[in-house]
Amino acid sequence: MKLFQLIQLSVKYLYRNLRRYFFLLLAVGFGFCIVTLITSLSDGMTDSVYYSAQAHYAGDIMIAGYKNATGTRQRISETNQVLQAISAAHVNPAHIVQRTIFPEQGMLFYNGIAVRQKYVIGVDWQNETEYFRNLNWDVPVKGNLSDGDAIISDPVAREFKAQVGDQITLEVETETGQKNTGVFIIRGIVKDSTIFGYYKCYLSRAALNRLLLFSPEECSIIGIYLRSRGAVEKAELSLQAEMEKALFTSPLVADRGEFRGRREEPWQGIRHFVLTLAVQLSEVSDLLRAMQLITYFLYAMMLLIILVSATVTYRLILRERTREIATMRAIGFYEGDIRIILLFEVFFLCIIAVAAGYAAAMFFAWLASFLPFDWMPSFEIFMKNGRLEALFLPATVLLNVFLVLSILIPAVWFPAFAVSRNPLPEMLSGGGRV
């Protein structure tokens, strides 16, 4: 009951001293805003990399088949056995996709202009409806897609000066190097300027299989979307175990360097690899690590600024309120009561500051999404649909609140403790330690 009354009093005193607390409110609010902005942008950028990679590599975990002699070419012939292994692994997938990929050498022609494609991807249109719905479209697809349709990227369309409805020719090479060509109609143009999508086109898997002389059941990779990113490690291990039982499968690899090393080993037939996004993204992990280091540095600096400014400001406030505190003591408040009142004042101040800081962070993050980053090479990888996107993860925001509070409470506790213990006559004359 007494505690409740003390809390009520602290709210009252906070309201009365709001002008005194204003600078502290501003300092904590600004500090929390910056900290939240840094972490949310960092989380958003990491998520964008993961999102782009997940879309490009078709899932959180993928199984790829490689024929040694064909370098970067992938082929899975025993598709059913791989699907059975996935089922036996009980990874509870959200979605499974099969894709045929022709890397590096696909050439698109339109009106005599030739543009080499980094990736020609054969997809099952019906099975990947959700994926295509989430793409950032320049000209979206209307109606259902068929075997003779193609989706090209915006840079390629611009180079061709082509539009939806135009006819393009795709030239590919079979595994043995024979030329094959197919004619397709452009049905959609996607905006994807990340490193995964600049020169990329999508066809139906059946059509690409025919061009590459694959059988209709074959594919290059089988991608598995999991329900939670946290389940990747466990799923990877159980998939690996089931794949090893069913088919010729390479040991797990930790990064792309090890992956390359394994692919340079001699083998006969098709060797399967269970690959996670962490492996696929290991080459951009240096970039992510650098980004995280900068984030941590800025984060630490900001927390230090909050600590210093809160300490200095609070001591000044207490100095101004010495007589008021002395009067409270004189009318019968215990030292402990005064400390509780002072701490709750700061606690409520902190809640207001955090709420204001959070709102400000959201506003600045929204403003940041309009900033152009074209001038920064390779920065597109951190952007979603061409814009910087902040991600306010509840866990990160709560951690930030906890950190700000854990810095602020000691910063106010010691002065509050000191001021409450000063001799009363000294305090009444405006003196005493703070």
């Binding site: 022609f109 005599g112 090479e173 024979q178 030329k179 094959n180």
Partner: protein, 258 residues
């Protein structure tokens, strides 16, 4: 009535089949002859190739190369002499391996015979000896007039799956020389047309004077009509003198322009 039809078909088959078979065999021999006329198994061959690349709407680019061939060992060496920017680049073919030497980095990289030569419409495989009879089966043959030449037109299909163009049409004139080829993709799309209007005759051997490659897919639309990308190779100073062995080596390419 049915018996009569059956008899007629039988007679036609008996008379016609050997005729078709012998025509195909004769055409296959014609193909072998065409190969032999431009393959130099008993001697080395060297010449200067001037390669002019015409991209519609752009300026012409000219590449001058020296080529040394030893067909008996499936080897060739090509050294780029012009333009200055590519000078010293070289190709060394040893059996099925093709090396590309870059004088800037002083490194050899393996490349494919199927790749475009110096970004022209010629392919690296166009500089080696002709092996049409090995690589292709004759499917059909017909007589046709090609300008001033009376030609046998052969439709070819790849005998192995390792050739770049799975289907070809080839025009061979009465003298056994290839005058025109059309290269098709597996799906039957025409990809490239080449023409060899004239040959040098040196002893019993023939050397093309010029080869023209028209790319059927690359080009530009100019004034509403499609103009193809084109490469013309002009061959000069052909020689069948023996080439020293050291030429067919990586060391030669490394030292030739020092």
């Amino acid at each position: 009535m049915r018996l009569r039809y059956g008899f007629c078909i039988g007679v036609l088959l008996i008379i016609g089949l050997p005729g078709i078979a012998s025509a195909t065999e004769a055409d296959q021999r014609l193909l072998e002859r065409a190969d032999n006329l431009v393959s130099y198994m008993n001697t080395d061959f060297s010449a200067e190739y001037t390669i002019v690349q015409e991209k519609p709407g752009q300026s012409r680019t000219t590449t001058v190369t020296a080529i040394f061939r030893r067909d008996s060992q499936e080897m060739y060496v090509i050294v780029v002499l012009q333009p200055a920017v590519s000078k010293g680049q070289g190709y060394l073919k040893q059996g099925k391996t093709l090396w590309l030497y870059d004088p800037e980095s002083r490194r050899f990289n393996s490349t494919s015979s199927q790749d475009r030569f110096q970004n022209t419409n010629a392919r690296n495989s166009d500089f080696t000896r002709s092996t049409l009879a090995q690589d292709y089966h004759v499917i059909t043959g017909a007589n046709e007039k090609l300008g001033r030449f009376s030609c046998r037109v052969l439709t070819l299909e790849a005998a192995t799956n390792e050739v770049t163009y799975p289907r070809m049409k080839i025009w061979i004139s009465d003298d056994g020389l290839v005058r025109k080829t059309e290269d098709y993709s597996l799906s039957g799309q025409l990809l490239r047309t080449s023409a060899i209007p004239d040959y040098y005759k040196i002893g019993q051997r023939y050397v093309p004077k010029s080869i023209r490659f028209d790319d059927e897919l690359r080009g530009a639309v100019i004034n509403g009509s499609f103009v193809k990308e084109r490469t013309v190779i002009t061959i000069s100073r052909p020689s069948f003198e023996k080439v020293v062995d050291s030429v067919f080596s990586k060391t030669f390419l490394e030292t030739v322009n020092r």
